[in-house]
């Protein structure tokens, strides 16, 4: 299959790639670039495990073709910690025990990050609504919500 030139900016780094048009952004991130932190749980847009941030918005990367992401700025779970410091959301997930197997965690953290960047001032109900597209089978969500609320609070007080 003919490959197409694609330029992606991922976690601040430029990647010039030749990719098959049938490859999803998820496959490009995981297989072509080797960023395996983003997970595949369904490849049908239903679980949120593959969530990354594209131009500031949380996106399920299994539902995006790699070629259509050309020129976009993408942040994955690997790009969240800076200068060896965890992002407050990452720290909050650790502190509250917001994960068990950890497979949904990259997706939840990226979805939460996009939400708090947009507006950290949300109620528990609003966060529940906004995170309804991410499935976690392990935690029952209680400690995930505690993590997100704790991180949002910290981001609010620090800004």
């Amino acid at each position: 299959m003919a490959k197409h030139p694609v330029s992606l900016k991922v976690n601040g780094d430029e990647h010039d790639l030749l990719i098959e048009p049938r490859k999803t952004l998820l496959a490009v991130l995981r297989d072509t670039i080797g960023l395996t932190g983003t997970k595949e749980g369904c490849s049908t847009g239903d679980c949120g495990a593959c969530t990354v941030i594209v131009d500031g918005k949380a996106v399920t990367s299994c539902m995006v073709l790699g070629v259509t992401a050309s020129g976009k700025e993408i942040t994955t779970i690997e790009g969240l910690a800076s200068d060896g410091e965890l992002h407050p959301i990452q720290q909050a997930f650790i502190d509250t025990g917001g994960y068990q197997c950890g497979f949904c965690t990259p997706g939840f953290i990226m979805a939460s990050k996009a939400l708090v960047d947009e507006n950290p001032d949300r109620t528990e109900e609003e966060f529940r609504f906004a995170l309804g597209g991410n499935i976690c089978r392990c935690t029952g969500y209680t400690k995930i919500l505690e993590a997100v609320l704790q991180a949002a609070e910290e981001i609010r007080t620090n800004s």
């Binding site: 932190g37 690997e78 197997c101 609504f129 089978r137 935690t139 969500y141």
Partner: protein, 751 residues
């Protein structure tokens, strides 16, 4: 509660040793594994629920550019009539192998038929479509009562019912029937003033782990087979591979990578032997990944069941008799968890007269696999609903009737065991004292329900070694894959013994060549049994280090004691040295210290839980909203309370999904019609409130810190608790799971 012990590490909440890896994307799960020269495998699956395989022609697939190898059941060693022992009794090797790649018959839609290895996943997928399989389609049977009919389509021509020691003389879908009896059932019902008898049906549900199954296999020319994968137990994978491939265990190494959930569903192997066959055929490493539809259609769901429960009680609330018939679907091959269901069905109650009949029935669905307290949730749905009805008829509070009849130390369960110290009553008391139970409940269409549950927990083999580092930290090596924080809960037990912080223990989960045999992470055994092994290995370290201190001080070993992280000499010399300082002096006192322990502890100690739930029923749509949920559970001793709470909350929510939404939906051809996360609806955070987990601690006499397994029992009560709450809200007894809006509307007579 018995005497309170003071602990330094046990009962605290340190962060997980794998915490940073899991929030930064660095943890390597099965699908993330890379190795040079990797090929990609894809499995072709049966489109039919029941069909004879007439022929398979792989030639077009083999000729497809980029394809490196194709395998079918012919590549498996001939398995006819052999029995395999996987530690839980003998199972037919043919059944095991046929579930990996079907030989003569496809027994469910999604049954693996053949597999391709190619240079890319896309090519492998294309090549699967080029495999020509001729099927003779047969009528499927999907429901246990139909499968038990004498004229039902037969799955296995050679399967005969084994019933109470006798073997049937003609083919049947009933694989087995067993019975437990206690007391005199007729006498028990004669003594009863009220008798309730009900039928229950539960749907087929899936464990629903978010990470699909995966395996990467490599056959070296020297015959060494290595498999990297996500699994609940590297050693059980090794055993299954050895049996299925008829290959020496000494030539197989299984490397467990991080696992994205299992809940019992990642014990049986599916694509691991397929990856091994493809690796052998191609001489290259091959990675096989399932997609979500493969997971639903090709891996073990947990069984649907048909259950009758009959219970009798006197006017003052004493339950005098209980009888049940548990009919569980096994899926395509025998082996449902009906045995475990039978152990749990009346376990919370001390009832003098009991009869339990269990049936294991094959149907045209994927072979079932364990799912968190396998069998117990189905059974408790029946029992706990009937107990609720008895309470109502007798005008007794539902918690009170449970308190009156609840099992205690010394009581004997119907299947035999006598309880050691257990904490069922304490969970009931905790529920009764919780503000939730006292809070108002009376709004229209709002209801409150109670239910309890039991899971026996298991021990099994675990091995741990502990290497002492010169800086006073230790490296703990274990074989239990960590699904939810057990690196921490195991390390903490070693830390407590050694008098060092949890952070000073570095736990590592290793492959099957690097540690002694360790059974699966399952049965709620890991914090209990591997934790116990860590405790013993740490004691071994202490013993050896006492000898080193004795050498340093030139005293008798018996004159060295260890407490609070300090070695000191008693009798005569005033000497003292900390664990840390002595760790730096191991070289001069005889070389490194390695503590070791292997165990197979018998005193797992059962776990009980009692749940209280408030619901609101939308009588126009049939939707049930969970308003408030409180779960009390006896953890024995919570090593890491946050992670115990997490287990409880997670189990509760899986139980809520089972209760309200989750089920395999089939069409008449026997095809699952909802094999996606969109259509198989698991709970999201939008569907739930915060789950209040209340830990009760009645120490388990079978563990040095009193640990009981906590992982499984929280899934047991929710369906019954919610059914009881729905009854309280709208006066309808739901006897079928899931209690989805359509079923509720039907039950209310609205459609």
């Amino acid at each position: 509660m018995s005497e309170k012990k003071e602990y330094k590490v046990i009962g605290t909440r340190p962060i997980r040793h794998d915490g940073v890896d899991k929030v930064t994307g660095r943890a390597i799960y099965g699908a993330d594994f890379q190795i040079t020269g990797l090929l990609h495998g894809r499995v072709l699956r049966s489109p039919h629920a029941h069909a004879r395989i007439v022929s398979i022609d792989t030639s077009r697939a083999e000729a497809h550019p980029g394809v490196k190898g194709v395998v079918t059941a012919e590549d498996l060693p001939a398995a006819e009539d052999k029995m395999a022992d996987l530690g839980e009794g003998a199972v037919s090797l043919k059944y095991l192998c046929d579930n990996i790649l079907a030989s003569d018959k496809a027994l469910y839609k999604g049954h693996a038929i053949a597999a391709v290895a190619a240079t890319s996943p896309h090519i492998a997928e294309e090549a699967c479509e080029l495999i020509d399989v001729e099927y003779e389609v047969l009528p499927p049977v999907l429901e246990v009562r139909q499968a038990m009919e004498s004229d039902a389509p037969i799955l296995h021509e050679n399967l005969r019912t084994s019933s109470l020691g006798e073997t049937g003389d003609k083919p049947s879908n009933i694989a087995s029937h067993f019975q437990h009896k206690k007391g005199d059932i007729d006498k028990g019902f004669d003594e009863a003033d009220v008798i309730i008898e009900r039928e229950f049906v539960t749907g087929t549900v899936h464990q629903g782990y978010i990470e699909p199954h995966n395996a990467t296999a490599l056959y070296n020319p020297d015959g060494q087979l290595t498999v990297w994968c996500s699994t609940q137990g590297a050693f059980t994978v090794r055993e299954q591979l050895a049996e299925i491939l008829q290959y020496p265990i000494s030539k197989i190494k299984v490397v467990p990578l991080e696992i994205g959930g299992g809940f019992g569903g990642k014990i049986n192997v599916y694509v691991k032997p397929v990856a091994a066959l493809l690796a052998k055929k191609t001489g290259k490493p091959v990675k096989v990944l399932m997609n979500r539809a493969d997971v639903f259609e090709g891996t073990g769901p947990t069984p649907a069941s048909y259950i009758t429960i009959k219970m009798g009680a006197t006017n003052d609330g004493k339950i005098t008799a209980a009888q049940t018939s548990l009919v569980f679907e096994a899926g395509a091959y025998p082996g449902s968890p009906v045995g475990a269901g039978a152990m749990c069905v009346f376990a919370p109650y001390n009832i003098e007269n009991v009869v339990i009949d269990g049936y294991d029935v094959v149907v045209n669905k994927p072979k079932t696999a364990p799912y968190r307290a396998p069998g117990a949730t189905n059974a408790a749905f029946g029992t706990e609903t009937v107990v609720d009805e008895l309470a109502e008829k007798l005008n007794i509070d539902p918690l009170e009737i449970r308190l009156m009849n609840g099992a205690k130390e010394g009581d004997r369960r119907a299947d035999g065991p006598v309880y050691p110290r257990i904490g069922f009553i304490e969970t009931l008391e905790a529920a009764k004292e919780h503000p939730h139970y006292a809070s108002p409940n009376g709004k229209k269409y709002h209801g409150r329900g109670i239910a309890s549950g039991f899971w026996f927990n298991i021990g099994l083999e675990s091995s741990v070694t502990i290497n002492v580092n010169p800086d006073g930290t230790v490296n703990l090596v274990e074989g239990s894959t960590d699904i939810g924080g057990t690196r921490a809960s195991i390390a903490m037990q070693a830390a407590e013994v050694l008098g060092i912080p949890a952070e000073s223990v570095n736990p590592t989960v290793v492959d099957t060549n690097s540690i002694g045999y360790t059974a699966v992470t399952g049965g709620s055994r890991t914090t209990y049994a591997t934790g116990y092994a860590a405790y013993e290995a740490a004691q071994d370290v202490v013993q050896q280090m006492k000898a080193r201190a004795a050498k340093l001080w030139d005293v008798d070993e018996d004159n060295v004691q260890f407490a609070d992280g300090e070695f000191s000499s008693i009798n005569g010399k005033e000497e003292q040295i900390s664990f840390r300082d002595l760790s730096a002096r191991l070289g001069e006192t005889g070389g490194p210290v390695i503590g070791r322990a292997t165990m197979n502890p018998a005193g797992a100690g059962g776990a009980f839980a009692t749940h209280v739930v408030d619901v609101e029923v939308d009588v126009d749509t049939g939707k049930v909203e969970i308003l408030r949920y409180t779960a009390t559970q006896d953890a024995g001793k919570a090593i890491h309370p946050s992670y115990v709470e997490g287990q409880i909350q997670g189990g509760v929510v899986q139980g809520i999904g089972w209760a309200l939404n989750e089920e395999y939906i089939y069409n008449d051809e026997g095809e699952m019609t909802n094999a996606s996360f969109l259509d198989y609806r698991m709970p999201t955070c939008l569907d739930l409130p915060m789950i209040d987990a209340v830990i009760v601690e009645v120490p388990n006499p079978g563990h040095p810190y009193g640990v009981r397994g906590v992982g499984e029992v929280p899934i047991v009560p929710p369906p019954a608790a919610i059914a009881n709450a729905i009854y309280d809200a709208v006066g309808i007894r739901m006897t079928e799971l899931p209690m989805s809006p359509d079923r509720l509307l039907k039950a209310m007579g609205k459609i």
